[in-house]
C-alpha cells in the first residue's frame, strides 16, 4: 500500500529543548525555536558546529526525546505517532550495533521490526547489501567490520523498509575520503530513486556537493536556510587570486591597497584581491612595472565562508 507523499515531508515549528546538566541541574538550552521545512525529493543538509543541537533535533524527530515546546511533523503526521516510522529510515550518529550478528541477521532483525514479509525481506536484504557494496560480508559478524563497513550496513538498515524519508546523523563523520565518497554516491542514488534525504553534518564540502538546500544551526538557533547557491551567492565577497611575475618593490607597494594578502615566492607574487573591482587597477600596476600575469582565479564564496561568518558572528555576539 503506497501512500501519496506530501510536498512537505518534514516540518518543525518553534521546537525548543532544554536539558538539565550537572549536579545542580543547571539548565542548558539545546534548541531555541527551530523552524525547518524539508520538501519532497530533496537532499537537505542540516549543518552546524558540534554542540549546535543537530542530534537533539534528530532525536526529537525520531521521538527518542521530547521537546519542551513546539511540534514536529513527518509526512504530515506528528512525530509521536509510531505509524509515521513505517516510512522513515534512520541512521544514528556513530551507531553501535549488535556485533554478534552477521550482516544478514542484522538486517533481518530490523526487517522483522517492520513486519516485512519473510520472502520480500530476503530479497530486499540481497538488494540492499548489493546496493551498499556489502554482498561479500553477508555472513560476516559485525564485530569484524571496519567503520566504513558498519556505516554502510547501517544505511542498509535505514532502508530496510523502503522509506520515503531517510534521516542520517553525521553519515560521513569518521570515514576516510574513499568511504565519504561512497556514502555521497549512495545518497545521490537514493535521491535518484525518489527518496527525500535529511542529513546532519559538519563536513561542509560534502554538504555543498550533495545538498539541494541546507540550514545552518548555531547554538540551537537557525541562522540560515535555503539553496546553497542562494546562500553562498548572497553572502559571497568573491575574492580573486592572482599570480604575477616580475613585480618590483615599488609596484608591490602600489598594489597593496587593493589586496587582502600578498605572498612573495622568488620572482612570483601571489595577490589575493578584495573583489572583482580591483582587477583592472592591479593589472595597470603590473603592466606599468613590466611584470606579467601568470594566472587569475576568481573565488566564489563557499559554504564554508558563510558557515564561518555565521558561526563567528554568533560567537562574537555571545562574547559582546
Amino acid at each position: 500500500m503506497m501512500e501519496a507523499v506530501p510536498d512537505i515531508v518534514l516540518r518543525t515549528e518553534t521546537l525548543r529543548k532544554t536539558f538539565r546538566v550537572g549536579f545542580w541541574g543547571q539548565q542548558v538550552t539545546a534548541l531555541e525555536g527551530l523552524d525547518i521545512e524539508v520538501r519532497r525529493g530533496e537532499v537537505f543538509g542540516f549543518l552546524g558546529p558540534n554542540g549546535a543541537g543537530k542530534t537533539t533535533t534528530l532525536k526529537i524527530l525520531m521521538n527518542l526525546i521530547y521537546p519542551n515546546s513546539g511540534k514536529a511533523w513527518i509526512l504530515g503526521r506528528e512525530v509521536g505517532n509510531v505509524g509515521v516510522k513505517r516510512h522513515v529510515g534512520f541512521l544514528p550518529e556513530s551507531p553501535y550495533f549488535y556485533d554478534y550478528l552477521t550482516a544478514e541477521e542484522f538486517l533481518r532483525f530490523y526487517g522483522d521490526l517492520f513486519d516485512v514479509k519473510r520472502a520480500i525481506l530476503s530479497e530486499r536484504i540481497t538488494q540492499l547489501l548489493e546496493m551498499v557494496g556489502m554482498s561479500h560480508a553477508r555472513h560476516l559478524q559485525l564485530r569484524k567490520f571496519s567503520k566504513g563497513m558498519l556505516q554502510r550496513v547501517g544505511i542498509a538498515q535505514a532502508l530496510i523498509n523502503d522509506p520515503h524519508l531517510v534521516v542520517l546523523d553525521e553519515p560521513m563523520s569518521g570515514l576516510d575520503p574513499v568511504g565519504r565518497k561512497e556514502i555521497r554516491d549512495l545518497i545521490l542514488r537514493l535521491k535518484e530513486s525518489g527518496k527525500t534525504i535529511f542529513f546532519s553534518s559538519h563536513i561542509l564540502h560534502d554538504a555543498e556537493l550533495l545538498c539541494d538546500r541546507v540550514s545552518i544551526l548555531v547554538k540551537g538557533r537557525l541562522v540560515a536556510m535555503g539553496r546553497v547557491s542562494d546562500l553562498v551567492g548572497n553572502a559571497s565577497t568573491q575574492s580573486v587570486e592572482m599570480i604575477v611575475e616580475g613585480l618590483t618593490h615599488h609596484g608591490l607597494d602600489r598594489v597593496r591597497p587593493f589586496t587582502e594578502r600578498v605572498l612573495c615566492q622568488g620572482e612570483r607574487t601571489l595577490l589575493v584581491l578584495k573583489g572583482h573591482g580591483q582587477v583592472d587597477a592591479v593589472l595597470d600596476v603590473v603592466r606599468a612595472a613590466k611584470g606579467s600575469l601568470i594566472s587569475m582565479t576568481p573565488h566564489k564564496g563557499s559554504l564554508e565562508d558563510l558557515f564561518m561568518r555565521e558561526v563567528g558572528g554568533q560567537v562574537g555576539e555571545q562574547a559582546a
Binding site: 532525536k59 553501535y96 521490526l113 517492520f114
Partner: protein, 254 residues
C-alpha cells in the same frame, strides 16, 4: 507480536553471550552435584539434604542470574545506543521493554531447566523418589525469578546498572523477610505498624514462592493454593511491567 518476539529472541541470544551466565551455571551445578558428596558423609536423612541443597541452589543462582543479566539489559541498550535504531522503527516503547523482559525470562527458563536436570540426575543416582510436589516447588521458584526480573527491569528503566542491582537485591531480601515486617509492626505503635504494613503489602512476598519446607517434609500443596500463588506472582509482575512501561515511555534518551 512479531516485533516483541524478534526483540525477545535477540535478547536471548545476547544473554547467551554473557560469560557470567556460564560461570554461575557451573557453580550451581557444582553445588547441586556436591550434595552427592554430603549425602555420603551424612548419616540418614540424606534425601532432605539433597533436596534442600538442590532447590536452594536453583533458587539462589537463578536469582543471581536474573539480577546480573537483568539489570544490564536496558542500560546496555541505552549506553551502546542500540536503542536508537530500535525505537526509531515502528516499535512502541512498551513492546521493546516487553521483548527484553521475555527474552530474559527465556534465558532463565533454559538455565533453570539445566539446573533441574542436574538435580534430577542427582536424585536419580541416590534413588530418591521424585513426586509432583518437587515440580510444584520448581514452578514457584521460576515464578519468583520472573518477579525478581521484573523488579530489576523496573529499576533499570530509571537508574544506573549499579543502583538497580542494589535496589533489586534490597527488594529480594525484604521480599523474603516481609512476614517478619508484619510481626515487627505489631510490636510497634500505631504509626510504626501502619508504615511496616504498607511496606509489607507493597513489597513482593517472595516467601510465598518458597515450597522447600513442603518438599522436604512432603506436605503437598493443593491445586487451588498453587493457582493462587502463581496468579499472585503473575499479577505482581504485570503491575511492575506496567510501571516500568510508564516510566520508560516518559524518558528522554540523551
Amino acid at each position: 507480536m512479531r516485533r516483541v518476539i524478534s526483540i525477545a529472541m535477540n535478547t536471548f541470544r545476547e544473554t547467551l553471550r554473557e560469560k557470567i551466565l556460564y560461570n554461575l551455571l557451573f557453580f550451581a551445578l557444582l553445588m547441586i552435584g556436591s550434595s552427592l558428596l554430603f549425602a555420603r558423609i551424612t548419616y540418614g536423612e540424606f534425601e532432605r539434604l539433597i533436596l534442600d541443597i538442590g532447590l536452594g541452589s536453583i533458587n539462589l543462582f537463578g536469582v543471581i542470574i536474573a539480577m546480573f543479566v537483568g539489570i544490564g539489559l536496558v542500560n546496555k541498550e541505552i549506553d551502546k545506543k542500540t536503542i536508537y535504531t530500535i525505537l526509531s522503527k515502528p516499535v512502541p516503547r512498551y513492546e521493546f521493554l516487553l521483548g527484553k523482559y521475555l527474552g530474559l525470562c527465556l534465558t532463565l527458563l533454559v538455565n533453570t531447566g539445566i539446573m533441574v536436570v542436574g538435580l534430577l540426575l542427582v536424585l536419580q543416582t541416590m534413588q530418591v523418589s521424585i513426586d509432583s510436589l518437587l515440580f510444584k516447588s520448581l514452578l514457584l521458584i521460576y515464578i519468583e525469578l520472573i518477579v525478581v526480573t521484573a523488579v530489576a527491569l523496573l529499576f533499570s528503566t530509571f537508574t544506573s546498572a549499579t543502583l538497580s542491582a542494589i535496589f533489586t537485591l534490597a527488594v529480594f531480601i525484604i521480599g523474603h523477610l516481609s512476614a517478619d515486617l508484619k510481626v515487627m509492626g505489631q510490636k510497634l505503635g500505631a504509626t510504626g505498624e501502619t508504615l511496616l504494613n504498607m511496606i509489607y503489602y507493597l513489597m513482593p512476598n517472595l516467601e510465598r514462592f518458597n515450597l522447600k519446607g513442603h518438599v522436604i517434609h512432603r506436605l503437598d500443596v493443593g491445586f487451588a493454593d498453587m493457582m493462587l500463588i502463581v496468579a499472585y506472582g503473575v499479577a505482581y509482575t504485570a503491575v511492575l511491567l506496567l510501571l516500568a512501561s510508564i516510566i520508560f515511555q516518559r524518558r528522554d534518551f540523551q
